[in-house]
Symmetry: C2
DNA sequence: TTGAATTAAACAAACGTTTAATTAAAATAT
DNA sequence: ATATTTTAATTAAACGTTTGTTTAATTCAA
């Protein structure tokens, strides 16, 4: 079983799940779009649900390492780390919108306990790393007293808001709906600028402060 | 055809759609939970999809009036209006989590053009009303220069973040998972306090300023 | 007695998965 | 190197359910 073909099927499934939802996508859809026989899905992954698990495990592996490195870095000030965090998260989600879409829909309505637990563990692990950055800044007195969990929610929620539905984003943000690439680029720029300004004020960072 | 029974079916469908998703809920599920015969769904609503449209129209009618009134009110300062807006949105979503969940999943993956358009028009109408509050505050020089659309995204996104998945919210916010009511109450309090603090700093409102 | 409400049964289509047969590739023996 | 055996990959077809919707008969209320 070639890894190439496995990943190709997962990539095609990712597109379909993101567009039509997990339940709205049939195994025949996936097989047809990937150009493989229907039975190969069960042969490779065991079931449609296991295929989703495989996809999540494939895509979610990368993130946690980056956050751990960011936390370890002693040369960066707490505010520097927040800026890096914003840059990283915006880039990551913008370049993986379909997968982020799937995670979102499964967080909403996953009926499989395995999927629920998998997503929960991934999200909690990331949350703990981000929380460290905030508690560190608070302890050092660099940040104003804030609700850390809610502030994390604002970061993730803001990014999700316009990435999830492009049609809505285009209409509200007044971006030409023609090109997918230009939309992403413009969205990333505005998200980063906005979140930095928002968090700087919220955390009470003075201009020019390190 | 009694309106009571119609609304009863819609309420039961709402619960199921929120829990298992639109595609994950069968018409037989709905009929069984509502205690009516399977054929009554088609008889009342025409189809499963039309049922969803009916549900959205039933629930979404209320919001826009409140926002229009808020905008008209000449006695309130721009910042007062923002505070009212936060109060209103948090209350509205917290007390209608299942419906909000459905709107969210349909914004992600709706395959029906009618549903897509319906949701888009509802969201855009609300966005325009909220935008007015911000542009008003900016023109009067009460608010700092900010990205209005992104700021609106932060408000909606923050509220969505923990309302969408209660399991996740409980784990991150350290709220006992036992009682649904206490979770909602606690979440509402923290959301309102956080959003007011966040927006006050972001918009550059001085303490004690009206 | 007329029209609406309700029912059980049936409909064809689509679903995820499995089967059994066939082809391709790899491993082993000659 | 060639032939043979063994394993893996791929296929078309079928499996039994479940899906949303409709039908035709029956009950209920006006």
């Amino acid at each position: 079983m070639s890894t190439d073909k496995r990943e190709h099927i997962l990539t095609e499934a990712e597109k379909l799940f993101a567009e039509k939802g997990f339940d709205g996508t049939s195994v025949r859809d996936i097989a047809h779009n990937a150009g493989v026989n229907l039975a190969m899905i069960s042969y490779y992954f065991g079931s449609k649900e296991k295929l989703l698990e495989s996809l999540i495990e494939l895509r979610a592996g990368y993130t946690i390492g980056i956050l751990e490195e960011l936390n370890k870095d002693q040369t960066l000030s707490p505010w520097d780390k927040i800026e890096r965090l914003v840059e990283y998260y915006v880039n990551k989600i913008i370049t993986n919108i379909p997968f982020h879409n799937i995670m979102h829909q499964q967080a909403l309505n996953a009926r499989s306990v395995e999927i629920k637990d998998l997503i929960m563990s991934i999200k909690l692990r990331n949350v703990e790393q981000v929380r460290k950055i905030f508690t560190d800044g608070l302890q050092k007195g660099v940040f104003r007293q804030v609700d850390i969990e809610m502030t994390m929610g604002s970061i993730m929620g803001t990014i999700s808001q316009y990435t999830i539905s492009r049609d809505f984003g285009c209409r509200v943000l007044h971006i030409e709906q023609t090109n997918e690439e230009t939309y992403r680029a413009e969205l990333a720029i505005r998200l980063k600028a906005h979140l930095k300004q928002l968090l700087k004020a919220h955390l009470g960072i003075k201009d020019g402060e390190k």
